[in-house]
């Protein structure tokens, strides 16, 4: 595989293959920060969630050493909170200050619309052989779900986490039983996030046959002409029509970036799948 990919990358760049930008550098960095802190939070949080499981103490020792596991959990939480706030600021700035079109509504927006519902039904009909494969816009419905799941998850997990961290402060305006509830909310929502990301997001985005073994676009920022047309024909057609396609042209990803991305990506997937196995063991233990 690596040799094949290597040939791919070099020959494609030197011949006719065109590349289009899907994610900006900032968006890619944001994803990197997101998955790094998420892995860190999961690795330090799961031993607490499944503290009675046989692997809990070993993993805790492995990721935190003596007594540091809670410190690291809080550290990753702060980094992720900052990333989250920067993202919200960017979105609001682009939408409200710069008046950029398509942030809050339309074909390039993350906000779900009627077409997404239709695409979802159509997609599932295609799964069952009941209809043609639907065509997708810039963000497909499962990608929007991923986005909002993480968005909602960060608010819920973040709030409940800070409520536990600063419990005496939050107690000023939360009822007593809420202090019990925040742990349930925090751990259940985090469990959902872990199970979702490490199984469904991994497969939907990276491991499914269309992208197997990894969708590189989130690391390199660009994808090939062919991939663009196949995966999101509606967005391709729209850009072609409006003449914006040219503006999206990017350069072929340098070989070092491809290889570096693979190392990072595979590592992340490997850690994620390991944690998924431990989670399932802990859950059914």
């Amino acid at each position: 595989m690596p040799e094949l990919e290597l040939v791919d990358a070099t020959t494609e760049s030197s011949t006719k293959t065109r590349y289009y930008v899907r994610f900006t550098r900032e968006q890619r960095y944001m994803h990197a920060v997101l998955f790094t802190t998420f892995l860190g939070l999961a690795a330090t949080g799961l031993p607490m969630r499944f503290s009675q499981s046989f692997w809990a103490r070993e993993l805790a020792a492995g990721v935190g050493g003596f007594g540091a596991i809670l410190f690291l959990h809080k550290f990753f939480a702060i980094v992720l909170t900052i990333a989250f706030l920067i993202h919200v600021k960017e979105v609001l700035e682009r939408g409200l200050v710069n008046r950029e079109k398509g942030i809050f509504w339309g074909s390039t927006s993350m906000v779900p619309n009627w077409n997404d519902a239709k695409a979802m039904v159509g997609h599932m009909r295609w799964f069952l052989g009941l209809g043609p494969k639907p065509q997708f816009e810039r963000y497909a419905y499962w990608e929007k779900f991923d986005y909002w799941a993480v968005f909602w998850g960060m608010i819920v997990i973040g709030f409940s986490g800070y409520a536990m961290w600063f419990a005496p402060f939050f107690a000023h305006f939360l009822p007593g039983w809420a202090l019990n509830a925040v742990l349930v909310i925090h751990s259940e929502e985090a469990l959902l996030a872990v199970l979702f990301i490490f199984s469904i997001h991994f497969v939907n985005t990276h491991l499914r046959p269309d992208s197997f073994p990894m969708d590189m676009v989130i690391f390199t920022g660009v994808e090939s002409d062919h991939e663009f047309k196949e995966k999101r024909p509606l967005e391709y057609a729209r850009n072609l029509k409006t003449g914006d396609l040219e503006k999206k042209t990017g350069i072929a990803p340098p070989l070092w970036l491809v290889n570096f991305s693979k190392v990072v990506g595979y590592t992340a997937i490997f850690i994620g799948l390991t944690l998924l196995v431990l989670t399932l063991i802990g859950y059914f233990d």
Binding site: G67, H123, F127, A149, P168, A181, N204, P209, H226
Partner: protein, 422 residues
């Protein structure tokens, strides 16, 4: 040598004489010993009587064995002279030997002819039917016995555990009789360390709790290690803790005769007692409370206190006794209980700086599965579980169908070379 003899006479001999006189058969021997003692005392510095020297002319040879050649019958005259019995004559104990040649059959030395009280105590004890010589097993070589205040004595406080451990260790008699090997537990305990590392004479050794001659099984209500007697036994040293304990629910229950209630050794163990502030103890003891308080333990397990505390690193997270007290455990209704509503701010505030009235309404034993007791928590958990189940079920099906369909498409369109862009 002479000084030693005099000293022995002055300080140690008279009680022995008294004891012998009090015993039933001792009177005849007693008179004889009294005469010996008197002669030593009055005639000092008279030379030692010849008979001991006589015996030692043969038995002083360190290589001397019995006629069968099996066991040594040598006596170190110097050590014997230093020993607590050094002023006695050989024939005081070996009474059936009058001269040489010795009789064919020689009776074993009977210590009880002098030490009648100890012998009587031993008779009722767990060691009564010992096949080994019951006295020398603990006190050591009969000719080299020192008072228990002498560091050379096998029953000197610092030597007691090793002496008992000869049998109650891994390879001793205890193994043969199916008794637990307690010596290794003890020697690594806080008492064992105090004794072996600090040399604390007051550190509890075996006989501090079990007694010496009159050791009884812990199933015997007279035994200091009988469950109901343990608080008093430990209280001999730990007086304040015993007082606290007696006032708590467990102490009161035991006093009422409820032997299901825990005594000291249930939480601290009997021999492997750890420093209670040590992480190892803090890690191991919460489940001990859970042996009886099953429901409370289960709900504690659901809390952050337990989740983090179980990992070993953060040992300071609240364990049972951090909130309930270790010894003076009282029900929440008792105004002096640390978990009484009026005291919660102080109790929680010991760890949680800034604990306020609303904060202490947190329930350290909330049960999210109990709708009546914790309705808010119950519905939060229900909602979260439904969310989890529905999202995962939907997307699992979605993903599996998608995978199957994509692969099918690839194979059908013969585009399945590695799977890109099917």
């Amino acid at each position: 040598m002479k000084e030693a003899a005099e000293k022995t006479v002055d300080s140690d001999q008279w009680p022995v004489v008294r004891k012998i006189r009090n015993s039933e058969q001792g009177s005849r021997i007693g008179v004889r010993i009294a005469l010996v003692v008197l002669s030593v005392a009055v005639l000092a510095p008279a030379p030692r009587t010849l008979s001991a020297q006589d015996c030692l002319t043969c038995h002083g040879d360190a290589s001397m064995t019995d006629s069968a050649g099996h066991s040594s019958i040598a006596v170190d005259g110097k050590k014997f002279g230093d020993s607590i019995h050094g002023s006695l004559q050989c024939t005081n104990c070996h009474a059936d030997i009058k001269g040489y040649p010795h009789p064919d059959k020689i009776a074993p030395v009977d210590c009880k002819s002098c030490h009648a009280d100890e012998a009587a105590q031993l008779k009722g004890s767990v060691h009564a039917d010992s096949k080994e010589h019951p006295c020398t097993s603990c006190h050591g070589n009969a000719h080299e016995i020192f008072p228990k205040t002498d560091a050379r004595s096998q029953v000197y406080p610092l030597n007691v555990p090793k002496t008992c451990g000869q049998c109650h260790g891994n390879n001793g008699m205890a193994g043969k009789h199916g008794l637990p090997s307690v010596y290794p537990n003890y020697i690594d305990s806080i008492h064992g360390f105090a004794l072996s590392k600090e040399g604390l004479l007051v550190a509890a050794n075996c006989q501090s709790c079990h007694g010496s001659h009159h050791i009884l099984s812990r199933t015997d209500p007279q035994s200091p290690t009988y469950k109901a007697n343990i608080p008093k036994t430990c209280g001999n040293c730990h007086a304040k803790i015993d007082t606290d304990y007696e006032q708590g629910v467990h102490g009161k229950a035991v006093a009422r005769g409820n032997l299901n209630a825990p005594v000291c050794s249930d939480c601290h163990t009997a021999h492997a007692i750890l420093q209670p502030t040590e992480s190892e103890f803090r890690m191991q003891s919460t489940p001990i409370c859970g042996n009886c308080h099953k429901e409370k333990f289960s709900t504690y397990r659901d809390t952050f206190h337990s989740q983090l505390g179980s990992l070993g690193g953060y040992v300071e997270t609240a364990r049972c006794w951090d909130c309930h007290q270790a010894h003076d455990v009282r029900p929440a209704g008792d105004p002096s209980s640390p978990i009484n509503k009026a005291n919660l701010i102080v109790t929680c505030g010991r760890c949680h700086a800034g604990a306020n009235l609303s904060f202490v309404r947190y329930q350290p034993h909330a049960n999210a599965r109990d709708r009546k007791l914790n309705p808010g928590l119950y519905f939060v958990r229900l909602f979260m579980n439904l969310l989890l189940a529905s999202v995962l079920t939907f997307f699992l099906l979605h993903t599996i169908l998608w995978l199957v369909r994509s692969r099918y498409q690839q194979v059908k369109t013969k585009n399945g070379n590695g799977g890109k862009h099917a």
